[in-house]
């Protein structure tokens, strides 16, 4: 008897947490999305399921763009941060924690300020474009701000530490004897990396991609501050519909669809890449 209740009791706090802070709000969002009405008369539940196809139809471009920008920025962050995490884990020596701290240091500055700094760096006559224009490499009218490149730059930059940390943790755990043994068995440096290190760090890559991808796909500040007339992401639409227009049903429906799309991606991703690598190597 005792042993049968035990697990339930132990998981009760977590269940309560989930119920309070996930299930209840989620149900509220579902029900709000199915309401119709306006801010003056109030909203009543009319089971208006057509809000989903309608919103999808109207905002499919922004939804698709969110996944595109989110995907590209996640990939770029991975490419940029894997070598950094690798270097710290394998060559950081006694100063590892200092390097990790340095990696995190810029992120003690407010998010808005960091994005605004990119606005400054990428401005038309700023330190990057101004110099390139003076050197004659770029034309007078070239600009990066207000283009997808600027938005993806902002998203990528913000993702860097969240990509690096889980990869670092995975790399740090790798038993160095395995790498050494591979060397003893005449594996080349590339082979050691390809067949030992990369597979063993896969759980970190997996976690990093999830962490960064989900956050970046739902982001709206980068597009708002660095973007232009055609870089609106779904987060911007949700924000406008909710805060500016008070259209709670459409905002809720879009949030739900974004969540479902993300869940679907995570599910497919876990099936294709995650469970296999994690079971095999972790």
């Amino acid at each position: 008897m005792k042993s049968r209740i035990g697990p339930y009791l132990q998981s009760a706090p977590a269940m309560l947490w989930l119920a309070l802070f996930f299930i209840v709000p989620l149900l509220a969002i579902v029900s709000i999305s199915l309401m119709t009405g306006n801010s003056i008369d109030g909203y009543t539940l009319t089971w208006n399921f057509s809000v989903f196809p309608d919103a999808l139809d109207q905002y499919s471009a922004q939804l698709g763009r969110s996944f595109l920008y989110g995907g590209i920025s996640t990939l770029l962050a991975l490419i940029a941060m894997y070598p950094v995490a690798y270097w710290i884990a394998f060559h950081g020596g006694r100063r590892k924690s200092i390097f990790l701290f340095l990696l995190l240091l810029p992120f003690l500055v407010s998010f808005i300020i960091r994005i605004l700094t990119w606005q400054f760096i990428l401005s038309d006559e700023g330190i990057v474009l101004g110099t390139l224009k003076d050197l004659g490499i770029l034309g007078e009218n070239a600009h990066i701000l207000s283009t997808p490149v600027a938005v993806i730059t902002g998203l990528t930059y913000d993702a860097l530490p969240w990509m690096a940390l889980p990869i670092y943790v995975a790399l740090e755990k790798i038993d160095r004897d395995l790498v050494e043994a591979a060397g003893d068995l005449y594996a080349s440096g590339y082979q050691q990396f390809r067949r030992i290190i990369l597979p063993l760090s896969a759980p970190g890559i997996y976690a990093g991609i999830l962490l960064v991808g989900i956050a970046n796909i739902g982001d709206y500040l980068s597009a708002q501050i660095l973007g232009g007339p055609s870089t609106t992401m779904i987060g911007n639409i949700i924000q406008t519909q909710y805060v500016q227009n008070g259209d709670y049903p459409v905002a809720s429906a879009l949030s739900l669809m974004l969540m479902l799309a993300l869940l679907l991606c995570v599910f497919v991703y876990a099936r294709v890449f995650g469970t296999r690598t994690i079971q095999e190597y972790a």
Partner: protein, 399 residues
Amino acid sequence: MTQPRLSRRQVMKGAAGAAMSVSLAQLIAACGLPGSRDTGWTAGTDWNAWWRDQQKNGSFNFASWPLYIDTDGGKHPSLDKFTKETGIDVTYSPVIQDNASFFSQISPVLQNGQSIGYDLIVISNGWQLTQLMQNKWLIPLDHSRMPNFRKYAGTVATDLAYDPHLTYCAVWQAGVTAIAYDEKQVDGPIDSLDALFDPKYKGKVGMLSDPDELGTAGLLALGINPQTSTYADWQKSADLLTRQRDEGIVRQYYDNSYIKALEDGDLAISQAYSGDVFQAQNSGYPNLKFVIPKQGGVIWRDNMVIPYHAENPVDAIEWINFAYNPEIAALIADWVNYICPVPAAKPIIANQLDDPTVANSPLVFPSEAELSRLKEYPVTETLKTHEQWVGLFDPIIQS
């Protein structure tokens, strides 16, 4: 004891299930979100009697916008003078970034019939102010407590299309939305809104992300008077602005950050607010010019209003009266550089504060002739017209 006893697990399961299904049922079936209808004060309230019953409490909370009051070393001389003369402490909070998001913060509280914690707020004329008035979420002002207003308020503050009887609104500052350009990046002086649509400045044109500003610029460019415009006119404006975007002329739809983009040289020309450009000119960007185009500019007003359920209305209205004292209005206008609602502040700025640049600026003290060239926003009095307007211009801004 032949009946099987319920195991503890079953009981727990049952209880949890029951609790869950009750809350679920409540959530899903009984649901609905209340609206704002009938949540304000009731018609027939005797406001004269109400004001008679109110007492001075010695302090009040004032919510305003960033950089929108005279500031000197972190202090606000006008507020300090007020405290010295009246004994009323002011908690000044520059928390309002834009009308819509501030409104979305305060409306649930007002809808619940509670005090929002501020006794005086500054709101621009527009849909949010219209809603505050229509919902009866504002306290009608007691003009007998505002003698300075009657004596010194200029036409900018007394001729309000959106509040013709001055029931709720006392103008804090006003301003003009027109165009600003970078002298170094355009050929010759600009005097027409057509420049915003000129392919010559492709990718160098800034437009405002506020749908009211954007749509009104389109109307003016088409030669339509916004105040009397119809839905058909709005559609024409939306068509024009959509073309402007699709041809790549618009670089971005900006909030207040357009001024930084102008300063950085990212923009050659932009829709702009008068005070921003005036401040930029005086802080190292003399190449930026502000011009009210031949089609006219748009005048907007930021209003001091007292929200319903305010706890210190007497203290707040005493400040409104104080702010219309020409000496105080001069202190504020000399710092914020927007249109001053008190014309008598002009000689004080010129002589006592020794700042003829501000005193003689048509952007701070416009003449009647200049004021007559300014237009009002289109009227969106009902939810339906507001939604029509937003439905046309939001998709342009967020494509």
